[in-house]
């Protein structure tokens, strides 16, 4: 059911691990749904010099995490924001329909890590990253809204 690329990134995932002194860390998903992705970014001069992940989830979740980290490494933040779930999926030669949500999760994990980076560094946060199709809560924004009174 998975493409060879997916299987390769699942069996030999790139960039597994933590970055101890990460500049941005984002975690999305939850154990209830069976997928958690945690993304660590090292950012220097607006460029993502390193990315690592830890993922609890299915084969597609691992593979999309792996591919997403590969795709954003060396990119600027703005460029990284263009790495949408579609880009990740295409790079993996596609995903089965039931697994598309994993690629969305990967996109959201990047967004969440970048958001964390901005927050930590007091950067202007427009809170919207290029690929965001609306608010899925993945970036933590929904939760924040809720805390703010839910309007």
């Amino acid at each position: 059911m998975y493409s060879e690329k997916v299987m390769d990134h699942f069996m030999n995932p790139r960039n597994v691990g933590e970055i101890e002194d990460a500049d941005g860390v984002g975690q999305v998903g939850n154990a209830k749904c069976g997928d958690i992705m945690k993304m660590y970014l090292k950012i220097e001069d607006g460029i993502i010099v390193d990315a690592k992940f830890k993922t609890f989830g299915c084969g597609a979740a691992v593979a999309t995490s792996s591919m997403a980290t590969e795709l954003i490494k060396g990119k600027t933040i703005k460029e990284a924001e263009m790495v949408t779930n579609k880009v990740v999926m295409e790079a993996l030669d596609g995903l089965p329909p039931a697994k598309v949500h994993c690629s969305v999760l990967a996109e959201e994990a990047i967004a969440a890590a970048l958001q964390d980076y901005r927050a930590r560094h007091g950067l202007d946060s427009d809170s919207e990253y290029a690929g965001c199709p609306g608010c899925c809560g993945g970036c933590g924004r929904l939760e924040q809204q809720n805390r703010n009174g839910g309007e």
């Binding site: 154990a31 749904c33 069976g34 958690i36 945690k38 609890f56 299915c58 039931a98």
Partner: protein, 400 residues
């Protein structure tokens, strides 16, 4: 190096045994006549079908061969039992169904459909090991209860239900009792008389017979609406040209299974127990799902904390080991197994479940290889898991 193939998913399906295949073969090419036709080629098909019916009736302890009806699958038998019973009872104003929270989708989805059609469904809970309480059945029975349907043995956690005790209750109250014995037949004794059931489903491919053949036992005198209408096959109760080869294969497979049951069950129970004990002793943070006693001999179900089942399956597959999981990811739905949830597991633990079902083809050395692979894979997946990271950090914190 040739990768070994270790099949540990016998509860999903089994291969057709060579003897079974040999028994089926003539009915594809030489003895191909329509079993419902008049002339001799057809008559040999008819005879084969009736002999199969007799064999299966004997295997299940039915009073008469005429109580066995062939279907196109276990699922069809389940659908027919429930829909046939409640549609027939509708005119008497009966519209209540009692079942359990851990039934197979063939029952669950049927009940859901019937609910939409206006029937009432009570889903009985199970205890932490996965057993239905017969007392709960009795309490749930209402004057308008049309049928009680409880599976004999659960396909995920292997729990063998107290069918006989439930049968006594349904009989006392004069309520129809269906039992989905798809997982039980061929693995443990199934005797409709002793169990006191009115309807019972089986499926050939679970006991080394072909896929696409099932049977429904209908106690004499029980009236069901037909599910599939058409020609006069199966004494006017299940239309469609008889799958002669498949039916012959099912009978042969069940006969063989029953002849070798003690030996077979003994062997796979031993393998299963050994695998269970080794895994629990060698791998930390593992939970046994389902009961220790009253469990199908080949069934093992474990949850590996901090990791997700589909990943585990894929990595095992890479090692040549075929297993299954109650993780949502492996089924395409979002929720993990309703069975694991019903025995009280958290989502997280349910997602990390692994079902290993042993069968004829397995050996002692499979167990060793399995445990070695599991140990390595579980460790590897845990190093990738943010949940395990949190757990380790919390432990370090606590140790300080």
């Amino acid at each position: 190096m040739q990768k070994p193939v270790i099949y540990l998913d016998h509860a999903a399906t089994t291969y057709v045994k060579p003897e079974v295949f040999e028994a089926m073969k003539p009915y594809f090419i030489e003895e191909y006549g329509n079993a419902s036709s008049l002339y001799s080629v057809g008559r040999s098909g008819r005879k084969a079908v009736e002999e199969a019916r007799t064999a299966i009736a004997r295997c299940l302890g039915a009073d008469e061969p005429g109580e066995i009806y062939f279907t196109g699958s276990g699922t069809e038998a389940d659908n027919w039992a429930i829909k046939g019973a409640v549609y027939a009872a509708r005119e008497k104003g009966k519209k209540h169904i009692i079942t359990s929270a851990i039934e197979h989708p063939a029952i669950m989805a049927t009940c859901k459909y019937l609910k939409k059609e206006g029937f009432d469904v009570t889903y009985l809970p199970v205890d932490q090991e996965g057993f239905v309480n017969p007392g709960d059945v009795e309490k749930a029975i209402r004057p308008d209860t049309a049928i009680v349907s409880i599976m004999y043995a659960n396909n995920e956690i292997g729990a063998i239900q107290p069918i006989k005790a439930i049968g006594e209750i349904t009989r006392k109250h004069g309520v129809l009792f269906h039992c989905d014995a798809v997982q039980a037949a061929g693995s443990i004794p199934v005797d409709v008389r002793e169990l006191g059931v009115d309807l019972l489903s089986i499926s050939a491919h679970k006991f080394y017979g072909p896929k696409g053949v099932g049977a429904l036992y209908i106690r004499k005198g029980v009236r069901l609406e037909n599910l599939i209408h058409g020609g006069h096959q199966e004494r006017g109760k299940r239309a469609g040209t008889e799958n002669v080869a498949g039916i012959v294969g099912m009978a042969k497979a069940l006969d063989l299974a029953i002849a070798n049951m003690d030996q077979y069950a003994g062997k796979i129970r031993k393998l299963r127990d050994r695998a269970r004990d080794l895994i629990l002793s060698r791998i930390p943070h593992v939970r046994l799902n389902g009961p220790v006693e009253n469990r199908l001999p080949g069934n093992l179900n474990l949850s590996f904390q901090f990791i997700e089942g589909e990943s585990l399956l894929l990595m095992l597959d890479m090692k040549g080991i075929k297993a299954s999981s109650g993780s949502a990811c492996s089924s395409g739905s979002l929720d993990p197994s309703h069975v694991l949830m019903a025995i009280g597991l958290s989502h997280e633990i349910a997602h990390g479940s692994l079902r290993l079902t042993f069968g004829e083809s397995n050996t002692e050395s499979d167990v060793g290889y399995l445990v070695d692979c599991l140990e390595e894979i579980v460790a590897r997946l845990r190093t990738m898991s943010p949940l395990y990271e949190d757990f380790v950090k919390a432990n370090k914190q606590a140790a300080k």
